[in-house]
């Protein structure tokens, strides 16, 4: 009996040893699946990794994205110049330097004009906002997020609304000390309560995981036409009321014969985003109370 037990234990040990890679991989696989299936339950995940990204990686992203634009401009000009004036190196060098300076000035003028626009909007709107710059774009297959250069130290909180003078960008989903991650309205996980500006029909705007939006839960009988503007309803308390989300570009009868299938083109061009405004939640509460 004792011998049998020992043999069994030995067999089990040998089996585990022989298949240890598969067993550990399978355990990690199950753990990953568990993480994924419980991701939307509000539990905070990967805090250490996020802190690391916010403290160590964000400054690198900031430096890369800042210098990349300047380098590509200068390099582009340099290629043009060597093709045109290959016989005059010294002159080329001067021109390149001047071009680089000119580009830098142009960038500053562009930045000034964009910031002026943001500032004018900021002053015109009744709610209090914080301005932030984009550090990184994460346009993976079904994911649409951006990293901004403001974090908890700058008063940024989770679920803050992110907007531009053109309309809604998304909301903050993760905050680090010096940077935060913003879920764009085009991400699959994004849903924003909205209304059709013309008819006041209510619905929910969801991201399609690419670069578009879908207006969901609009009844077949409801009046929605091509070209209608979709704005935030302000019901959730996250987004200020009346901010533009996009324009209706497709209206079809839904497969369930109950709801319409409506495609919405976002007003904001996410690929050109550089600066955004973060709305303080207390400001929305004050606006709602008024």
């Amino acid at each position: 009996m004792l011998n049998n037990n020992l043999i069994d234990k030995k067999r089990t040990r040998t089996y585990v040893r022989r298949h240890r890679v598969i067993l550990v991989s399978a355990l990690l696989l199950i753990f990953s699946l568990h993480l994924a299936l419980t991701d939307n339950r509000g539990a905070e995940r990967g805090i250490v990794v996020k802190e690391f990204i916010s403290i160590a990686i964000s400054p690198i992203q900031n430096a890369i994205i800042g210098t990349y634009g300047a380098i590509t401009e200068v390099f582009g000009n340099y290629i043009i110049l060597i093709n045109l004036k290959s016989d005059n190196d010294s002159l080329n060098e001067t021109v390149i330097q001047l071009k680089a300076e000119n580009n830098k000035l142009k960038e500053e003028v562009g930045l000034n004009s964009r910031l002026k626009e943001v500032l004018e909007y900021k002053e015109a709107e009744p709610f209090e906002t914080v301005t932030a710059s984009i550090l990184a774009f994460n346009m993976d297959r079904w994911t649409r997020t951006v990293t901004i250069d403001k974090g908890v130290d700058d008063g940024i909180e989770k679920d803050m609304a992110v907007i531009t003078p053109l309309g809604i960008v998304g909301k903050v989903i993760e905050t680090g000390p010096h940077s935060s991650m913003v879920l764009l309205s085009t991400d699959l996980r994004s849903n924003i309560e909205a209304i059709v500006q013309r008819t006041r029909v209510k619905g929910v705007i969801e991201g399609n995981g690419k670069d578009g939006l879908r207006l969901k839960y609009v009844l077949q009988l409801d009046d929605v036409l091509l070209g209608d503007q979709i704005v935030t309803s302000g019901f959730s308390g996250l987004f200020p009321k009346g901010l533009i989300l996009g324009e209706v570009v497709k209206v079809e009868k839904g497969k369930d014969n109950f709801f319409k299938e409506i495609e919405v083109l976002p007003r904001v061009d996410f690929s050109r985003l550089e600066e955004v405004l973060l709305v303080k939640s207390s400001a929305i509460a004050i606006e709602a109370a008024q």
Binding site: V21, D39, R141, W142
Partner: protein
């Protein structure tokens, strides 16, 4: 431990460049290639944990559904590990083909996870573009990884 020292910084650098410079340019799926490389070349518990960590890092960087990429990479690790007993990933063609097919598998696995988590994800054609790009670059990248890995730990490398 050496694998962690080599491949984690490479993955972080890749994710930083992908989110800043190569935003809209299709680039090879380096995390997948690293997992393929480890699974057929030196499958171990350390390799499995590294595959999980790489997937976790990718999810943290992109702000995607936590666990979706690590799940896909763990499936890929197991598939390659089991296949490596029958197939030798020694020629550039086999490596390219395997990487291309595994990119499609990775896309399908993440798509399935998103559906299981009740997100109405569209099946994207861009998976195929990613598969072609990853497949095309894989032989060269594996050669590079072998060199880098060999300089740090030449003895444990198989041909």
């Amino acid at each position: 431990m050496k694998d962690f020292i080599i491949f984690i910084p490479i993955t972080v650098l890749y994710l930083v460049l992908k989110s800043t410079i190569f935003i809209s340019i299709p680039i090879p799926d380096l995390p997948l290639i690293i997992v393929l490389f480890i699974a057929y070349n030196r499958a171990s518990i350390e390799g499995a944990v590294l595959g999980f960590v790489i997937g976790y890092l990718e999810d943290a960087f992109t702000g995607g559904v936590f666990g979706s990429t690590s799940f896909a990479l763990m499936v890929i690790f197991i598939v390659v590990y089991l296949l490596s007993k029958r197939v030798t990933f020694s020629t550039p063609f086999i490596r390219a083909l395997a990487a291309g097919l595994l990119t499609v598998l990775k896309g399908l696995l993440i798509y399935t996870v998103l559906h299981l988590t009740h997100f109405d994800a569209p099946l994207l054609g861009s998976i195929l573009i990613a598969a072609v790009v990853t497949g095309a670059f894989t032989p060269a990248i594996i050669l590079l990884l072998t060199r880098i890995s060999g300089t740090v730990d030449p003895q444990t490398l198989k041909r």
